[in-house]
Amino acid sequence: MKPAKAVHYLPAFIFCGFIFVFMILWIVLPKEDYSAKEKRMLADIPELNAQTIFSGEFQKKLDDYLSDHIPARDFFVGLNADYELVSGRNGSNGIYLGSDDYLFSKPTRETDNLANNAQFIKEFSETSQVPVFMTVIPSSGYVNGRRLPAVHEEYYDDRLISEFSEKLGDKVSFVNVTDVMFREGATKQLYYRTDHHWTSQGAYECYKALGKSMGYEPVAKNKFSVETVTGFYGTSYSKSALWFVSPDKIELWRNTLQPKDSLTVEIKDGSDTKTSNSYFFPEQLKGDDKYPVFLDGNHSVVRITNTNAESGTLVVVKDSYAHTIVPFLSQNYRNIIMLDLRYYKKDVSDVVKAENADQVLILYSLDNLANDPYLSNLF
């Protein structure tokens, strides 16, 4: 074949080369069972027998298997995200890229869950023997509104949160931190860039704000020493597939005056129990998603005892945002019992009674509050 001809036929070679190489890679590349970026198990190779073939089940599952194990999957997923971004569809996979490499989840909307949860909490507070406090954490997109891309869905967390609080009745002492977060967020980094969670700084602002209502004196900021961990890629990052976004950093705040042996953290999942003497779990820093460094991520029941604190027992009903603020609260409460209602299915008021608790704090992010149906487990 003459070279001129060969060039002319190049698209055919590109095409055939691509599909053949792709197929071979598909077959020979080692298969992962677990995708760290997606944080889920990937499909397994399906079982082959007459029954699964004739029902079409084998074919469907094989398709799932193949698409879960596409060669260079991260590259292609990233390419698609970049293409969507440059062709005008910032946020098409649920995450906005804002200025300063900030990633934002799309705004939370009114849901039936939100109203139902308000009702559950109201009923809980009416039967509770001890004071019930509650706060709802606004989203990063609301607080960092000035960093959002020009075209975005409106965030009205302030309205949703105040409407929610009005449904709670007078027995709940609701502490609205929306304004505080918005104001402080103008100058400080209260949320991670690559994750939907708040930073230690963000949790600290809330800790300060809660003190007035809950009756404790917050520990001053200069009493803490800060350790900074780099290379954090949060869940917004893996969801966005915008791999060029720079890694985040996590700050671990330690009270310099707290004696080492004063702290016990006891984590219970069903019958498993493990204990530690730190709020932070460095083994969680090995992966991309380092947020579980705070109190080891989600567990059914976590009991934190700080003998350095004078007194007080607090029950915290919470989502994962609490993992950052509870180390601060622990400075002022001798005992904190943290309950995650997604895993803890028993009566919360029984715990309050058994622990002889002084207060209950219900702490949720707006998004989880609107989408989490588990608050029905309160009592």
Partner: protein, 455 residues
Amino acid sequence: MFLPITLFLYYITPKRFRNLTLFVVDLVFYSWGEPMLVLLMLTSILINYVSAILIGINREKKALARTIFIISIILNLGLLGFFKYVGFIGETLNFVLPFLNLPVIQVALPIGISFYTFQTMSYTIDVYRNTVKVQKNFITFGTYVSLFPQLIAGPIVRYSDVAAQLVSRKESMEQFTEGVKLFLVGLSKKVLLANEMGALWDAVRESGSQAGALGAWVGIIAYTFQIYFDFSGYSDMAIGLGRMFGFEFIKNFDYPYISKSITEFWRRWHISLGTWFREYVYIPLGGNRKGLGRQIINIAVVWFLTGLWHGASWNFVLWGVYFGIILVIEKAFLLKLLKKAPAVISHLYSLLLIVFGWVLFYFENMSEMGGFIARLFGADGFMMQGDIVPCIISYIPLLLAAALVSTPLFNLIYHKIKSRAVIIVLDNAGSAAALLLCTASLASSAYNPFLYFKF
């Protein structure tokens, strides 16, 4: 995955057996999605194969040949009717005559049945008319019917168009390359435009009354693009794949949205279906040779059937009749006026009717359709509001791209280029970009981070 294996098998097979390879591959391809229904397709192939041979043998005995022909047509339409329309007929009868209270049988629609039934019928009808030779080789005939590129979404290839190619075709590098390019064009249309336009249309419908008249029009325009790029994308892929295997199929779409009348639109839209109805329904019914009255009846029949062919629901009939009426009006006088009118007017007229037609085509539920039409005309106010606003704004670049790609503009520019070097660069860069972006998009649709267990 499927394609490289097929290409490999096909080209290592000696010429003589290439049809057999194709046939086997086709059956595997079909059984992938529909393991049992492949038997139905084989039955259909067998019916037409046998009846054509019988018609051939009994050509002299006119009455017998005619009977066989009629039985074959009844069987063909019977299969199509049963699998596609039985639920629809049951529901309609129950609606008209509620006291019957018929049990409505729900049958899963076998993929491609509308296409392959029309293909086999084109063959049997042509054999009966003695315009094509009887195909005695079962493999060859089976290959024709089940040819995988066009099995699922057309084009409807008439047997007479490919009879010679089935027996002897010459694959060439030239044709293969053209096939690859066309395939990639089709794939890009489907993946990069149709799917995205579909996502926008879904978003508009879900936003409900927030869309307002403006949003509703953007939505239905997005659907207009979706259906065109989806359908013509599949056709391009089919024709492209056909070329890779040495087949030459007729063009199925010819920039339908640049039409200046509905008559022209239907010459440019789904050409293979229009041709089929013209050849096998309209002309046998007498076409335009038996006076205006008869012609109008013929048009009505054709458009009723065209509508029904697209789906077993009354909205498709409504859609067909809608175009039938417009075509009659155009024939009567409007076409002459449109020719004289400025191009802007005739384009606007055509596009408006086409876009509105897709409303009828989309909504199977009449009350939803009514609600949407009301919205188009301002029942929910003019402006859109809420979350649909940023959504629509973010799709503006793609909407513009879709509009440009539905015109022959890029094709014209491409053919104006004299420099061979530029063409080569464009071809290769285009092919590589199309491959990468389409793979990226397809890979992403399977990328669904599970983010809710680590909150």
